[in-house]
């Protein structure tokens, strides 16, 4: 329990920074929306952009002049931010002990390494939950100016659930990187590269039918706003895949970390 609280405190600053960026992002996005709001002519500029690019950015799946449609596009940023923050929290909280050489203190305490990882994982999870709640709050509050209907709030709720699930996947991946990489400096940058690659694959997978097979490769496709906007639910196969990724990542993380040499 003491490690958990210590980690919560250690993660506090990072949560504040990510949240501030997120709130700023929501505010600017909603401010931009005022140009599109009930103004179909504003979409004329989109005609000059190739359709595959628009598809890649999910722009044709939504009606941008409506608030829920606009938030459907903005969701890309929610998911990307959520993924990055979660992966950073996961990898950093493990890797920083080696980086700052504090493993010589924390792992000499009479605790198992698994207990340490669990406490750090739970603390990072709390950050993930708070990050979603803050995003949710900021979105709901700033959308109020457009008097959205109940349907919008339901969709927003679904987006937040999707963001949380994406966070979980990348949190598990981050923890794995933090536990496995001996070169702890790599953990953070590696997490970001994996996320960006996954995101590029997501964009590419939407651009052409032939590339649609990539949908199983990138977790961003598992919770694609364009899909759950239409169907109103998450596909079971993607939920199962996510659960699989999380379980495998965490199991590998615990196993490797318990056996590995600490680099001091």
């Amino acid at each position: 329990m003491n490690i958990f609280w210590h980690e919560i405190k250690a993660n506090r600053k990072s949560l504040l920074v990510w949240s501030a960026v997120m709130v700023l992002l929501v505010l600017t996005a909603v401010a931009k929306f005022s140009a599109f709001h009930n103004n179909p002519e504003s979409l004329a500029i989109l005609d000059s952009i190739p359709k595959s690019v628009l598809d890649g950015m999910n722009m044709r799946a939504f009606n941008l002049v409506k608030l829920d449609g606009f938030f459907g596009v903005v969701f890309s940023y929610f998911s990307l931010m959520g993924a990055m923050a979660a992966a950073m929290w996961g990898s950093e909280s493990i890797a920083r002990e080696e980086r700052d050489k504090t493993v010589e203190f924390s792992l000499v305490l009479p605790i198992t390494r698994s207990k340490l990882v669990t406490a750090k994982l739970l603390a990072a999870l709390v950050n993930c939950v708070l990050f979603v709640l803050i995003t949710w709050g900021a979105s709901a509050l700033s959308a109020r100016a457009y008097q959205p209907d109940a349907g919008f709030y339901k969709f927003l709720g679904q987006e937040m659930a999707a963001m949380f699930l994406i966070e979980l996947v990348f949190l598990a991946m981050g923890v794995l990187l933090g536990c496995v990489l001996k070169k702890y400096k790599l953990a953070g940058s590696m997490a970001i590269s994996i996320i960006l690659t996954a995101y590029v694959l997501f964009v590419v997978s939407r651009m052409h039918e032939k590339l649609d097979v990539l949908r199983f490769v990138t977790p961003f496709r598992y919770f694609d706003a364009a899909d759950f906007y239409k169907t109103g639910r998450f596909e079971p196969v993607y939920l199962a895949l996510s659960a699989g990724i999380i379980v495998v990542c965490l199991a590998a993380a615990y196993l490797v970390y318990a056996r590995r040499d600490m680099m001091i």
């Binding site: 003491n2 700052d100 493993v103 000499v108 305490l109 040499d261």
Partner: protein, 289 residues
């Protein structure tokens, strides 16, 4: 009973050598010195005992328990002072100590205060703002606050001023009198000589000798210094090593039947002669050559 029992412990980092086939035992209640030059494998041995790293082969038991299986239980009774201490920089000293204490099944608050006042540690400063020596003091208090039964010290005096070093040695001696076993790694022989009952000498990853500090010193090796008036004596005898002649003074080490060397000395025209015990330093150098 041996508190530490190390059996053919070997550690390779990839291809590079950590320690090879190290075996020794540390008895309950003794202060065991662990000497060797930098890079000999002292820290590797200690980190293996703490399960920070895992052996390539061989095993070790602490308090009779296997380090590979019962690390956390073993560590409950261990106090560790690394050569360089690293803590969470933005914590206050007192918070760090309380945090550390919270992991041990004891009410450590009084002992913490005692140790802190003894080491003249300021409890309300942030770790970040502390000098190297002051961090070391935090390390000493943190390592001892849970009244461990075994204390592992890895080059503990680096960064402490002479006054603090003395206080620290007194503290370690007091702990030892209470029955605490001390494993003291160092490359400074004089401090080992002052404190330890037995020593193990490690060199290039291998234990070259484990013995009582007195036998190590006696060991029948004598340091002989001879001033002769004419010429240089050859000292062509079995058991003679390290012959150095400077300004008419010849210094050498002799190991064997002392009568042999005495008889030889009488054949020389001697101005002055001294026969003494070599210092630990000199014995130590001997192991290195």
């Amino acid at each position: 009973m041996n508190v530490i029992e190390v059996n053919k412990l070997t550690k390779y980092y990839g291809k590079s050598r950590g320690i090879v086939d190290v075996s020794f035992g540390v008895e309950e209640g003794e202060i065991f010195g662990f000497i060797g030059p930098n890079g000999a494998g002292k820290s590797t041995t200690i980190r293996l005992l703490l399960s920070l790293i895992h052996p390539t082969s061989g095993d070790a038991r602490v308090f009779g328990k296997d380090i590979a299986k019962e690390g956390p239980t073993i560590r409950e009774q261990i106090g560790y002072l690394p050569s360089e201490v690293f803590y969470y920089d933005d914590m206050k000293v007192i918070d760090l100590l309380k945090y550390s204490a919270s992991f041990y099944p004891c009410d450590c608050e009084e002992r913490t205060r005692e140790l802190a006042s003894l080491m003249e540690l300021e409890l309300n400063r942030r770790i970040r703002d502390l000098s190297y020596g002051n961090r070391k003091k935090v390390g000493i208090v943190q390592g001892l606050l849970h009244s461990p039964k075994l204390v592992l010290l890895d080059e503990p005096t680096a960064g402490l001023d002479p006054l603090m070093q003395r206080k620290f040695f007194d503290l370690i001696r007091d702990e030892n009198k209470k029955g605490v076993t001390v494993f003291f790694s160092s490359h400074i022989l004089s401090e080992v000589q002052r404190l330890c009952n037995r020593v193990g000498i490690i060199r290039e990853g291998r234990m070259v000798e484990v013995s009582d500090i007195r036998t190590l010193q006696q060991n029948n090796t004598k340091k002989i210094r001879v001033n002769t008036r004419y010429g240089q004596p050859a000292f062509d005898l079995p058991g003679v090593t390290n012959v150095v002649t400077e300004n008419g003074t010849t210094q050498l080490f002799f190991r064997g039947d002392i009568n042999l060397i005495l008889r030889y000395l009488t054949t020389l025209n001697v101005d002055d002669v001294s026969i003494e015990e070599p210092t630990l330093e000199e014995i130590f150098m001997h192991y290195y050559e």
